[in-house]
Amino acid sequence: MLNYFKPAVLLLLLLTLLTGIIYPLVVTAFAQLFYADKANGSLIVDIKGQAVGSTLIGQSFTQAKYFWGRASATSPYPYNASASSGSNLGPTNPDLITTVNTRVKTLQVAESSNKIAVPVDLVTASGSGLDPHISLAAVDYQIKRVAKARNMDENKLHELVNAHTETRQWFVFGEPRINVLQLNLALDQATR
């Protein structure tokens, strides 16, 4: 029996050293050396040097002058980036239907002039609860409201939106999308 335990203990120890300490530290060293910004959370820093968010993590927006992002199911408040979570509501769950309908209502009240059907991603909770993006359709849906709230020319706003549109990566991967936080920051800049 001992001739099993000895190699088992020692191999576990040495392989722990190799895969649990050396390997992650090598990756950390590489990351901090070559990709320090990304490895530390892709932070957005304002002029005062204060971190105001991450390009990868969404924030909650409810004011008319901002574009709104995906619904977030994190608790206790939306976009809690220290406790990611989806809603996990099943497709037939009455709670899901009610919640989505409430969100649709809220949007329709906010944009009374808008008769387009609400794009699905704008009223459903993202998987992480931290999704930084919405679809182009979801931005289009909100343009009138934001332009009005900011007294901004709609065409100007369209230009700003186009400038912030991310296409499919390498023309193939993923979906076209817009980063809500970055777009809103750019809006604040433009109308300052």
Partner: protein, 627 residues
């Protein structure tokens, strides 16, 4: 199914299959100890490792010895992960001062990572210190994967050996898998992921100032932490406003690379690869998704090389790929068709992915979420990039069914292929019965002992899955954790046991499984279904190695032909369907019927809203807004 969806699926399959031969060849050379670059450059280090650890490289283990080495090594690993979790409060690299994990959850997690399941009852960023993640979870990600690969290599070896007692040396097989295959591939993937934005730091969580403050209600607590009641006797709430967002960070990239490559699947963060820090871009998603199936698929080719006929490997890979591809299209179509109960615009266009977006990320859309779900459950990976619980009934049925097939459609690293080889043995046995000859596979006679072991391997997971589901549904402790009611609630429980009983690890995460009942029951099931498959597989290996090799004769069923691919597929699907269709009928199939009926009776998703018309006019309106 849009053109873009189709294109991304095809691209995924093409890249995956293109990598099978090069990686498969490399791995075969590693296991056969032929020059493959790395194993010559690091040969001195490998030798030194064996000397330090008093490993007798020359020892050719019998199957019982091999099994004992596997068990001792895995048990020790399990104990270390348990101890680390229980002591993490006093250990270093715990910047968030996270407390020790309670015994039942720590047991569940330790078992889960040692058995390559990576079922997660806990939530990463609020539970595990960086130290536990690195030295406990990451390490088992490597070692549990290497264990699976070692057992596969032992089984493969038994086909080539004749009249032999031994099936190889576990320490050597396991060390080589780690050193030459898992570690270099992980290093490469981790570096690529960091370049895409996956975090990798030992700094504490980062606070940022929000653009718009968030206010929320929270139960009021008194000085003793008890809820304060208001005048009506209900718990009082207070409104809190926060201007801060705390970004959970950590040494994630290194762990994510191996959790994808080693078919582990245990996320660094709670929502796994749906988290933007764990899977930030469509490209990182593609790489992580590729990593899920890369080694399991390539091992088929290695198997072919090692048994001296690569066609044998291709035949198995073809069976896996055909079933996989068919199910990808089912799942993607189901998700793309959306949720008929929601009265919103779900039609795919150039400006949105459309479909059932609840629980999915915008950057991945429908196709990458559904494709991932199929890949992660075809392999016993279990990582997710979308919440499976919120999938449409059919979209959720596909992952569940793939797990129930026994994790043999690619399956876990090593474990998937040894499972599939067992199915191949059953297939030649069935064919043997039909033509009235003694069945042979790769020159080895398949006799009563092999068939008994194969029967254990095929029967243990269904017993665990169906028995566990039945038990949980009979007990109050099993039912309280269910989030969604009705048929979907049944699916949540069935999914949990399918996942644990086949060492997958993904979940219908609405089920609150971090309770003593689920932690213990699922923990025991994971242990049982890992080792009561592994031990019989090693027994088969021992028995085959001791046999002579019979030459191919007229009565030999050729196992390198498309006909055998079909036979193998039928065997896998028949066993899976006969065992699980009744259970599936009670869950996702009923739910599918319900959802279709509800949407027909009530065109407005069951809601009497005045602007009901919008849905039927949806298509026309939408095309009008296109510029």
């Amino acid at each position: 199914m849009t053109t873009q969806n189709f294109l991304q699926i095809v691209l995924y399959l093409v890249v995956l299959l293109a990598l099978v031969k090069p990686l498969g060849t490399y791995m075969a050379r590693i296991y056969q100890d032929e020059p493959a670059g790395l194993n010559r450059w690091l040969a001195g280090f490998e030798k030194l490792l064996y000397r330090w650890c008093s490993v007798d490289v020359k020892q050719d283990m019998r199957w019982t010895q091999y099994a004992l080495a596997v068990l001792v090594f895995n048990l020790l690993g399990l104990l270390v992960v348990y101890a680390l979790q229980r002591c993490q409060a006093v250990l270093p690299l715990n910047p968030q001062n996270l407390p020790a994990i309670n015994p039942d959850s720590a047991f569940n997690t330790a078992v889960s990572f040692a058995t390559n399941t990576n079922w997660q009852g806990y939530s990463g960023e609020t539970t595990m210190s960086y130290f536990t993640q690195m030295l406990g979870l990451s390490v088992q990600n490597f070692l549990s994967a290497a264990t699976g690969m070692a057992v596969l290599v032992a089984l493969t070896r038994s086909f080539i050996r004749r009249n032999s007692n031994g099936i190889g040396n576990f320490w050597v097989d396991m060390t080589r898998s780690t050193l030459y295959i898992l570690l270099p591939l992980s290093l490469l993937l981790a570096v690529l992921l960091v370049g895409q934005g996956v975090v990798q730091t030992t700094n504490p969580y980062q606070n940022v100032t929000l653009i718009e403050a968030v206010s929320y209600d929270q139960p009021k607590l008194d000085a003793n932490g008890q809820a304060v009641m208001d005048v009506t006797g209900k718990p009082a709430t207070e409104t809190i406003e926060t201007k801060q967002q705390t970004l959970a960070l950590g040494p994630a990239a290194a762990q994510i690379a191996i959790k994808q490559l080693g078919t582990n699947g245990g996320g660094f963060f709670n929502v796994n690869s749906a988290h933007p820090f764990e899977n930030p871009t469509p490209l990182s998603n593609f790489l992580e998704m590729l990593a899920i199936l890369l080694i399991p698929a390539s091992l088929c080719y290695s198997f072919g090389v090692m048994v001296g006929d690569t066609r044998q490997g291709w035949v198995i890979l073809a069976a896996m790929t055909l079933i996989f591809t068919a199910l990808v299209f089912v799942a993607v179509s189901a998700e793309q068709s959306g949720n008929p109960l929601l009265k919103v615009d779900q039609i795919a266009s150039e400006s949105q992915a459309g479909g059932n977006m609840e629980g999915k990320e915008t950057r991945f859309g429908i196709v990458n979420s559904a494709l991932w779900a199929v890949a992660t459950t075809a392999a016993s990976n279990g990582s997710v990039n979308a919440m499976h619980d919120s999938f449409t009934p059919i979209g959720g049925l596909v992952p569940m069914f793939l797990m129930q097939l026994g994790e043999v459609i690619y399956g876990g690293v090593g474990s998937g292929l040894y499972g599939m080889i067992v199915f191949a043995i059953v297939a030649v046995f069935l064919a043997g019965l039909m033509i009235g000859r003694t069945p042979e596979y790769l020159g080895k006679k398949i006799e009563a002992f092999e068939m008994k072991m194969a029967a254990i391997i095929i029967l243990v997971p269904p017993l665990m899955v169906l028995g566990g589901t039945a038990l949980a549904l009979m007990l109050e402790v099993g039912k309280v954790g269910v989030l969604n009611n009705g048929a979907h609630g049944f699916s949540e429980v069935l999914y949990a046991f399918s996942s644990a009983g086949n060492n997958n690890g993904s979940a219908f995460a609405g089920l609150s499984a971090n309770t003593p009942f689920y932690n213990f029951l699922l923990g025991l099931i994971m242990l049982f279904s890992r080792y009561w498959l592994m031990i019989p597989v090693l027994a088969i290996a021992g028995s085959l190695a001791s046999k002579k090799i019979v030459p191919v004769g007229l009565g030999t069923l050729p196992t390198h032909t498309p006909l055998f691919t079909v036979l193998l597929m039928i065997t896998v699907l028949m066993v899976g369907a006969l065992t699980f269709v009744p259970a599936l009928a009670l869950g996702p199939i009923i739910e599918h019927i319900q959802i279709s009926q509800q949407s027909q009776v009530l065109p407005c998703g069951g809601q009497a809203l005045p602007d009901c018309q919008a849905k039927s006019d949806l298509h026309t309106i939408h095309t009008q807004v296109q510029p």
